[in-house]
Amino acid sequence: MSLQTASHKWYVPFEILSLRSVLNAAVAMHVVLAALELIRDRIDLAGLTIALAAIFALLRWLAPQALSGSPRLQIVRLIVLLSIIIVARLTLAGDVSGYAVWARAWSWIPILMVLAALFSPYTSTWTRQPLSTDDLAEGLARNRRLYPWFQRFGSHVLLIHSCVLVLLPVIWIADVSISPGNLLGGGIGDAFSLEHYQTMLGGSSFWVWTRNSVIVAVGTTFFGLCLAVPSAYAFSRFDFFGRRSAMFAFIVVQMFPGAIILVPYFLVMKTLGLLNTSIGLIVAYSVTALPLCIWMLKGFFDAVPRELEEAAKLDGCSTAQIFLRIILPLSIPAVAVTGIFSFLTAWNEFLLALVFNTSNDQFTLPVGLASLIPTDGQRWGDFAAASLLVSIPVVILFILFQRSLIQGLSSGAVKG
């Protein structure tokens, strides 16, 4: 087989190459759109949308072969006509809301792409096999040029949809926090008022909750590190009886978090009189975060070369001196990352705080903020303002340290 015939076999015009993935996405999207129409109580539109999804699936199956000159081309043309009628009907039925524009874009774009494929000169040239060498070279060069752009475009469409979904609650919270009144409703950015920030920052509860959270988070970080750093070092460096089983125990604990030991935990705390105190939470958080902290730190310590310690030993350092003078200063970044991790854990924890600390003056921020949203009489505006105030520093901290945090966490989790 010569290279010339090989390239004939390999060449498919860009329109048809791209059509496949566009139609795949369109089918999936129209199933979602049909569900949304059901939520809107437009059963007729939902039916049409599902029909459209079926049509796209049919086209996905028929089009590539049909376009290469089979008699099924006529059927494809009919189906395309039908789909145009349906989409036109859908477009006329919809209002001019953001939703309608977005949904119809998802219907029109695939249809336009099918039409482009049907009427493109490149497709018709391709259909008239055999191709001349010039046509082939031109088509290949065109594919080479356009296809990467198409792929990039597809990635951006997917990512932009995901980012909108991710950002939606953030934008919503920001908007609610500056909307007057504590009720929902009203569009994004239609009114402006700082009353909620005034309420939260001017009142006492927010500051009480913040104080409690800071005490608990800082206490947890300190106490947790005191426990985790030495034992992570021992797990990394010493070989002692029971090392493996102890490490296994830590993994098991990491696997089975809070909710299961909730009841006995609560009763122990109750018996010790540690309910409604910060100490109770500090103790509980330090221990629940301990396994992951130890695994993170162990990973970091493992990376410190042993030769350093051996050199120090030759210089006459004792084990404790090696640990305090050599290893600790070297791993300050690692310890800091672990500290941030336990700080964030304590700052965001909800369940134990909800169970242990039931009086308003001992609420931490999570429980306090949640108490603004009871079943009745929700104070959405106040909640949103407080939420923004609470999460902005945390998010910045997380994003600044994301690489080390994620690395430490996922290596700890996967090893465990």
Partner: protein, 486 residues
Amino acid sequence: MSRFWISLRSFILIVSLLAVLSGGAAYAQSVEASSAEDLTDYRRTGLELSLSGLQEGWSVEIRTDQHGVHTRIPVKDVFGLTRLPAEAALQACFSDGAPVHVDTDQQSVIGAGTQSLRCALTGLRPGTDVAVQAAIVDETGTLRAQSSEIRLRTDVSDLRLTPPDTRPILYLLGSILISLVLLLSALRWWDIRRGNLKSRNAYLYVGPAIVALVLLTFYPITYGIWLSFTDANQTHLGQSSFIGLENFGTVLMSSGLVQVGLFTLIWTVVNVFLHVTLGLLLALVLNRETLFGRNVYRTILLLPWAVPAYISVLAWQGMLQPEGLVNQFLGAEANFLGEATSARISVTLVNAWLGVPFMMMSLSGAMKAISTDMFEAADLDGVSRWNQFRHITFPNLKTTLVPLSLLSFIWTFNMFNTIYLLTRGGPYLGFGQPGATDIMVTYIYDVAFEYGDYGLAAAWSVIVFLLLVSFSIFYVRQTRATEAVT
């Protein structure tokens, strides 16, 4: 023969007509509510109702502004039914001075002749005024009578319990501590005798962490297992007694088990599936190095992980309200969290939203570790993108995917926050019964802290624990087995 049936039918018709007429005519339904101070104590708020005109098939509802329907007690024929044991009744209701009856489903019921009902309401938020209202509702849900709203309060000062005699537990913790220290010293001595000089001070380093872990994790777990065999509850914690497997029997016989178990299973499986597929998809797209704005996208997509989970869940709760943003965008007025099916779908999607970034980042790291040469070799062979993913990327990610999906399974199984903050396990929360979106952990929370039955909650916990352990072992074995085969 047929004549007999006809006459029987008309007889029944007449009797029931008479019953309805007399019921409607003879008694007007009324309900009045007042506070019952003597029942108010730690985490409970006393309420007294005087009732009249009840009919079988109806029910009495106690509503609060925190829960909607807090308690629903059906009115039934109580003839032949047992009453709640006196000590258990402390957390439930008394009708006409005696504990209420329980039907075959362990549901509290009252007779039609009941004139007064005294209940200790649990699970009201302490330190705030709660508006409470009682109502009589017929079988179609129509309101028959309603009391005026009264405000009740559980005072914060009530919560600061003077701790009971803590000496026994302190002795216990102390003795555990001492024996641990002894054990560690013995281990150290044994290690040194074995000639293992490298570990000279190892126990000094690990000791504190191990002690903390044993005292605050293993001890509570053991304690919890013991609790599951007792009748410990809010009112008599100190004097709880061993009742064998009764709690486990109650769990296994309860009508809620199938519902909660099934929803927990669906919730977990669907969530893990969504986490893994969406995480994989996004990681694949984000790993293209030539992608414009890749770091911006990555940072934005990290947000669900970076923002405190309780805040984003509450934000979603607001957005899913009938007048919230989602409905505004769609131009609809759906009550997503008010209907069983839509609430179940909503909580699942919100939790998927929360969990994808972790999966995405972990998988993205694992993908970077796969050598790019392999894909170039496949490119040269003309292997399509999809086959490259299926036959190269996916098999090579397996070693990461197995522990990650297990982790995601366990986290989702235990995900209390999402459900509690979105729906509290509702809708359709009845007293003592799981709501439509209750998973095991949220139901355990309800049983323990809303209804105060610690022993029963501990039994649920033990069952969940056993389920998780056996699933993990099964899963790891299974994946190892398939790895050995392929």
